[in-house]
């Protein structure tokens, strides 16, 4: 136990555990903690008064501090039982609309919301904005929603940040959900930041895991951070709603129950009297004869090791045999061989196909975080130590140019072709 010259037990930062979040620096009442030249927290023992605040606030138990007579608080104890924030109830999903229909990620979230709501013994809410969209409520009910709250207005006919932000904020203020989930699409991320700021509440992006903590009834939101190298579990104790965005294909699409009924509530809404942006033109992505890689049940994915235009005929042929689509990892996009729309990974798309064939993909963590939902992963790579083999259900160590023709032949035989 470290004591300073005044005989006070002082805190010590374990340098190998500190993540430099600086929370303790902000918490220390006497300014005894600073960042070291290595960028980690460092306690000045002569300034430390031994209050233990840094230890209580440290998210990773990097503060070593033993004070006589004081029982060390466990992490559980510190997460003080929460009575929740009174007056807020229900798990809400923002239903994103595209071409007059709810997008799939909204239904995936509806399934997750159902699960969370059952744990909390509350109801599932759908928030729906647009013009002439109330028919979508039926789909929401079929996917497990109990109540759909709708605001319709011509200004909401196409998405713009300001009016949507205003309208969704109003719905939250009227309906007061304890949780609000949104798809981590371009629109969802654009909108979530606006609404969370209006409501001054916490927002956690790109969550891959959502659960309710039994004792506190808090939403625990787990997300990849530091480029996917680390998972952080986040919570929001004092503000409501607890907001979270989730990427498409991360949560499982719930089974649809046609004819399931629910309640539809309309809310009057008028746009704020300010000049709004005007959408001049929309240009759809040409998918170049292929389909959206997120929707494809099978993917053949070219990585750095197959970054060769010559290879693409072979990969395309394999994709056709398995009924799939050609996708790629980042180096292939950077080399200009395939468009960004085909990129799987942290900076590309998250996918969850039935079959995922990685060709020359080494398996960097940024790639692996985006394929966790894949059912079967097949890896073909000449390097037996490539990290992709650690996650692949089946691997073939070898040169793809020789392996794939053989693979196609044998597969065709087995398929009876």
């Amino acid at each position: 136990m470290a004591k300073n010259s005044k005989g006070i037990e002082v805190a010590e930062i374990l340098q190998d555990k500190c993540i430099a979040c600086q929370i303790c620096i902000g918490e220390c009442p006497v300014g005894a903690i600073d960042l070291s030249p290595e960028g980690l927290a460092l306690v000045d023992p002569e300034l430390c008064i031994g209050c233990g605040k840094c230890q209580e606030s440290c998210p990773v138990e990097a503060v070593k501090f033993e004070r006589a007579g004081k029982k060390e608080l466990s992490r559980e104890d510190r997460g003080m039982p929460s009575e929740g924030v009174p007056g807020y109830e229900g798990v809400a999903v923002f239903i994103e609309v595209q071409d007059g229909e709810g997008v799939q990620v909204s239904w995936e979230l509806m399934g997750k919301a159902r699960e969370l709501a059952e744990k909390l013994s509350t109801r599932v809410l759908g928030f729906l904005l647009g013009e002439g969209v109330d028919h979508i409520a039926r789909e929401a009910f079929a996917h497990g929603c109990d109540e759909v709250h709708v605001s319709e207005h011509e200004v909401l006919a196409s998405y713009r940040s300001a009016p949507y932000g205003h309208a969704l904020t109003r719905l939250c203020e009227r309906v007061k959900p304890e949780i609000l989930l949104m798809g981590a699409t371009h629109q969802g991320r654009d909108l979530a930041g606006v609404v969370a700021t209006h409501l001054k509440t916490g927002l956690t992006a790109d969550c891959t895991g959502l659960t309710i903590e039994d004792r506190t009834r808090l939403l625990l939101m787990t997300r990849p951070t530091f480029g996917g190298n680390i998972m952080a579990t986040i919570y929001c104790e004092h503000r409501r709603p607890q907001m979270s965005t989730v990427r498409p294909m991360v949560m499982k699409l719930p089974e649809r129950t046609p004819g399931r009924e629910g309640r539809k509530v309309f809310h009057e809404w008028a746009p704020p009297p300010v000049e709004l942006p005007h959408i001049v033109e929309f240009m759809g992505d040409a998918l170049e004869g292929g389909m959206d890689i997120v929707q494809s049940a099978a993917l053949v994915v070219a990585g750095r090791g197959a970054c060769d235009p010559e290879a693409f005929h072979l990969l395309q042929e394999l994709a056709e045999v398995v009924g799939g689509t050609l996708a790629c990892s980042r180096p292939v996009v950077e080399a200009g061989l395939l468009p960004y729309e085909r990129q799987v990974g942290q900076t590309g798309k998250t996918v969850a196909p039935k079959l995922y064939i990685a060709v020359g993909v080494s398996g960097a963590i940024q790639h692996l975080v985006a394929i966790q939902g894949a059912e079967k992963i097949v890896a073909i790579n000449p390097d037996p130590n490539a990290p992709i083999f650690k996650v692949a259900d089946v691997g073939i160590v070898g040169d793809y140019a020789r392996v794939i023709p053989e693979f196609i032949n044998q597969l065709k035989n087995r398929m009876g072709a």
């Binding site: 300001a162 509440t201 998972m231």
Partner: protein, 279 residues
């Protein structure tokens, strides 16, 4: 035209990982860099200055060593740089961060009204993409995220038109100034710092603002102003891998055959494949 660009200093995330044996964060040798999306945003701000005249101010919130990112901004053409640094800012989530940055911009705007605010679409360490929309909301300016191109700015009519990414394609959208833009990598190609600017950037005095100068409410800053907290930090879940068959040992035909046997082991795999995965 006055543009303000927000820059974040981030660890080079490719190198951050958890040691699987000790379950601790490995940081040794991890360098700090300027968030690449922010540098693209800065480049666009500087090239618009070249086109329409005016000034570019770069802001960075962080510990004192974050001034390196601001020196980089000077070398790339920013006219003025300000470091927002205070113990009270530490531990901020995106809500508190957007508060701090918008307070700085309110103060800047008193000297020179702001026409455009630039941010990267997201930072590579947190990947949240939340700070930009937070600032736009607080400053009540037009919000354009995922911007691919600035088509034009009309300072007389106080309008801007951009091309931005959205689901399924791109949209051309125009709206009133002031506006906040978040940059996709395609927005601009950062220039190399010219030698004279590089040298003067190293000698420049970096202005620093603290909570007091910002006249910020202490309850909205840093950890106090942050509704989200970290409960735990872990390694990503590992997926259980299966066997790998080596062509150099088995030969192509045998390796492929064994691999396919493993795949077909799962009941229904072949029939799903034959039905082209339709349920």
């Amino acid at each position: 035209m006055h543009s303000v660009c927000c820059i974040k200093q981030v660890p080079d995330t490719a190198e951050v990982r958890i040691d699987p044996d000790t379950n601790t964060l490995v940081r040794a040798g991890v360098e700090s860099i300027s968030n690449p999306y922010d540098i693209v945003a800065l480049e666009e701000a500087v090239s618009l200055k070249d086109r329409y005249g005016g000034r570019v101010t770069a802001l960075c919130m962080g510990p004192p060593q974050a001034e390196h990112s601001l020196r980089e901004a000077l070398s790339l053409g920013a006219d003025r740089v300000i470091l927002l640094s205070d113990r009270a800012f530490a531990g901020a989530d995106t809500l508190a961060t957007s508060y701090t940055l918008s307070k700085a911009m309110e103060k800047l705007a008193k000297e020179h009204p702001i026409d455009l605010v630039f941010c990267g679409k997201q930072a590579i360490d947190g990947d949240t993409a939340q700070t930009g929309p937070g600032i736009a909301t607080r400053l009540d300016c037009t919000q354009f995220t995922y911007v691919l191109k600035v088509d034009w700015v009309d300072l007389q009519k106080r309008q801007i038109q951009v091309t931005r990414k959205r689901e399924g394609g791109r949209e051309v959208i125009r709206g009133p100034l002031p506006a906040l833009l978040t940059a996709e990598l395609e927005l601009a190609v950062p220039r190399r710092a010219p030698l004279p600017l590089l040298i003067s950037s190293l000698q420049a005095q970096v202005e620093a603002w603290d909570a007091k100068i910002l006249e910020a409410s202490l309850n909205e800053l840093g950890i106090k102003g942050s509704p989200t907290w970290v409960r735990a930090i872990t390694s990503p879940p590992a997926r259980e891998g299966g066997p790998a068959f080596d062509v150099s040992r088995e030969g192509e035909a045998q390796a492929v055959s064994m691999a396919l046997d493993t795949l077909m082991d799962e009941k229904g795999f072949l029939s799903k494949l034959l039905k082209r995965w339709e349920a």
